[in-house]
């Protein structure tokens, strides 16, 4: 067992970068800032690869489960003996996998950004924010304590906010950043309450103990949490569902997904890193982290499954209608995360039943590669045509061959065609779903077909179709931009061959599952159908798309308008919540509370005006009052008030 203390450096290096660049970036190290951040991150990548090597290979005892170990632990905020927010580093297969993904993708994005963001005025700030994000994300995945994860959860949220709002002088970017933060904040409220519920019954905030206490049948905590109930639902289910709500917010699950498409206002590399590969899968990671607890609450697990599959299908449908390429990718991200979610939802606990968990993590892993690839490719395209709209593109394959190829690879991977990365993970997911819930399986299958359709719709529209507006042809991009594309393409192609079942499983024991060819037929066929359909419609200019959308006009419009979810939210928040309650509060404050105070003052003044007549200036009246008061007092004190 090696000493994992060095692992602390993995998040600390980006943090150091953030502080350095944040404080002095604007003035002193501006031009070097990108290089500094990238170099630091490179070290982090190496360290995390080294960790992974040690954890999965070198230190592995054959036949034993992978250990779950808390490498470091520091009582950050001690509430009472035994109940504290501890800052620690938890190593288990998923966290090790995640640090690899996070650092790696982040490195790719850093490198890409060196070229992509060149010349930006806030170059250093950009890298500072990226470093902050990387640090927070690493902290999130390494958390050993449920509150620690919440802390970093918020931090990734704010880095996402800062990066979405990077182009702060665009009102749309500002609005998007606000929206992203507020929606996820709302979800975090659920997360927070969920944490409070779970930790209250478990009596601890540390993951390992919390899970162990809640899961072990017959333990007082477990009994308490399952017997206590609110509104007929056990506290365990409440807690888990609320925690999942937090995860759903961050992972843009229906109906908390509305922020994700708008978040594409940020610089494209940021979208690749945060809103495709890493941060948005935090919700999946969270569920996976608490998976042992979810297992004992079937209701919440089902919620996870249905929300996941609904999001997957829903997003896929919307993606077919969108014209902004980043939005299409965003919806596809949402859809893919839906996959991961429902994969977790359909998992059971055990040797074979645990397939969904592995599949989910596997898909998370592969998705990171190809989705980052797709986003970076999209970034290249956007750089080229200075537009996000599909109609401004077309026929770009010649102008940007590398992008073209890598984008194609990405599309193939996401469509789940063998032997690309997506195929393997998606296969496992569908297999797991098939064995557990046919309805989910059917929806998943349908989604995979639609996925292939809209991805290739995108592909054909960008690179084939009719060339437009090619007035300025400049190079495809700097070498900084090309290298990540290349590396990620390799990943998109080969990531599927990683023996994932041996490493990342629910019970941390190797899972021996192989792809059943028969079960792979249906999705692959569907995917091919989708691709062909896309080819028919978008390879060249023709009227088929309009026709089809004409036929399904109302449905098309519904999907195009994203099923009016945004508008509904807007109505609820603006009109009802903020306007009514806020206005009411304002009114109440002004009229009732303040008015009360002022009325008191006014009454005093008025009374003083009213009684002024007594002071009439007539000395005889004074004497008369004097005498009457004596009489009254005499009566009072002689007879009434003895």
């Amino acid at each position: 067992m090696s000493d994992y203390n060095f692992i602390l450096w993995i998040p600390l290096l980006p943090l150091g970068c953030f502080i350095l660049l944040g404080i002095s970036g604007r003035r002193y190290v501006k031009s070097y800032s990108g290089v500094i951040a990238t170099a630091a991150l490179l070290v982090s990548v190496l360290l995390s690869l080294y960790t992974a090597y040690h954890y999965f290979l070198a230190d592995k005892d054959p036949g034993e489960a992978y250990p779950q170990m808390v490498v470091l632990k520091h009582a950050w905020l001690q509430f009472s003996p035994g109940f504290a927010i501890n800052m620690g580093v938890l190593l288990d297969p998923i966290s090790v996998m995640m640090i690899v993904i996070v650092t790696f993708i982040s490195l790719m994005v850093h490198i890409f950004s060196l070229g992509y963001m060149k010349g930006e005025e806030r170059f250093a700030t950009y890298f500072a924010f990226l470093s902050l994000f990387t640090f927070s994300m690493l902290g999130l995945v390494l958390s050993s304590n449920i509150f620690q994860i919440y802390i970093f959860w918020e931090l990734v949220g704010v880095s996402s906010y800062l990066l979405i709002g990077f182009y702060y002088d665009r009102p749309s970017a500002v609005a998007a950043s606000k929206k992203a933060f507020i929606v996820t904040r709302f979800a975090d409220l659920g997360f927070l309450i969920g944490i409070l519920i779970l930790s209250f019954y478990a009596g601890t905030l540390d993951f390992s103990e919390l899970i162990q206490r809640l899961v072990s049948t017959g333990s007082p905590q477990s009994v308490a949490v399952t017997t206590a109930s609110f509104a007929g639902i056990s506290m365990l289910t409440w807690g888990l569902t609320l925690v999942f709500a937090g995860g759903a917010g961050k992972s843009a699950m229906f109906p908390l997904h509305i922020w994700l498409p708008d978040a594409m206002e940020g610089p494209t590399p940021v979208s690749a890193l945060i809103h495709a590969a890493t941060m948005v899968v935090a919700g999946v990671y969270l569920v996976a982290r608490l998976f042992p607890v979810f297992i004992i609450s079937p209701v919440s697990l089902q919620i996870v499954a249905y929300v996941g599959v609904l999001s997957a299908l829903f997003a896929a449908i919307i993606a077919c209608t969108q014209t902004d390429i980043k939005r299409v990718l965003a919806y596809s991200t949402m859809s893919q995360i839906g996959y991961m979610m429902f994969a977790l939802g359909v998992t059971g606990f055990g040797v074979y039943n645990g397939l969904g968990f592995t599949a989910s993590m596997f898909h998370l892993f592969t998705h990171a590669f190809f989705k980052a690839l797709l986003f970076l490719g999209a970034g290249m395209v956007i750089h080229m045509v200075h537009s996000n709209e599909m109609k401004d593109m077309g026929g770009l394959r010649k102008a940007m061959p590398l992008t073209h190829i890598s984008f194609l690879l990405g599309c193939l991977a996401i469509s789940g065609l063998p032997p690309f990365a997506g195929f393997f993970s998606k296969e496992e997911i569908l297999t797991a779903a098939y064995s557990s819930n046919k309805l989910v399986y059917a929806a998943g299958l349908l989604t995979s077909g639609i996925t292939a359709f809209y991805m290739f719709r995108l592909y054909f529209s960008i690179f084939w179709h009719t060339p437009r507006r090619m007035h300025e042809v400049h190079g495809e991009g700097s070498v900084y931009q090309k290298i990540p594309l290349l590396i990620l393409s390799v990943g998109a192609v080969f990531a599927g061959f990683v023996p994932f079942g041996n490493m990342v499983t629910a019970d941390r024991l190797p899972l021996h599952a192989s792809i059943d060819i028969r079960s792979a037929i249906a999705p692959v066929l569907l995917a091919i159908t989708g691709i062909l359909l896309a080819y028919r419609m978008y390879f060249r200019q023709n009227y088929l798309p309009q026709k089809i959308s004409g036929v399904f006009k109302s449905f098309y419009n519904l999907a195009y308008r994203k099923f009016y979810i945004d508008e509904i939210y807007l109505f609820i928040t603006r009109k009802i919540l903020f306007n009514s309650i806020g206005k009411f509060a304002g009114w109440f404050d002004k009229i009732i509370v303040d008015g009360g105070v002022n009325a008191l003052a006014a009454t005093t003044g008025r009374t003083s005006h009213l009684i002024r007549k007594v002071q009439s200036g007539k000395v005889q009246s004074y004497a008369l009052y004097f005498f009457c008061c004596i009489l009254i007092l005499a009566l009072l004190f002689i007879y009434l008030w003895k």
Binding site: Q615, S616, G617, K618, V619, Q620, A623, L624, F627
Partner: protein, 104 residues
């Protein structure tokens, strides 16, 4: 003297007292107000003397009190009349209703 009960004397003095009060309340001429005050003081004097003679004749407290009251009444009347005369000079009237500039 012993034929008249003390209370009767007290009734007389009380009546005089309240007569004085009534005068003080209603007379608009300052000098008549002053006269009312004299009536009030005299009723008190009657009280003192009557109490002294009827109830506590072993000492002369009441009688002395009366003497001092009379003296002070004189002093008070003198000052009051001086003030009234001064007021008459500035206001041209000794109607108390006319001296009501200071109010509220």
């Amino acid at each position: 003297m012993s034929d008249v009960p003390l209370t009767h004397i007290l009734f007389v003095s009380t009546a005089l007292f309240f007569t004085g009060l009534y005068g003080f309340f209603t007379r608009r001429n300052m000098i008549s107000m002053l006269m009312s005050v004299e009536l009030i003081l005299n009723s008190v004097n009657i009280n003192f003397v009557a109490f002294n003679k009827y109830l506590y004749p072993e000492r002369l407290d009441g009688i002395f009190f009366t003497i001092f009251i009379i003296t002070i009444a004189a002093a008070e009347a003198a000052v009051a009349i001086a003030i009234i005369i001064n007021l008459y000079r500035s206001h041209g009237s000794i109607d108390v209703e006319d001296a009501g500039e200071l109010r509220f």
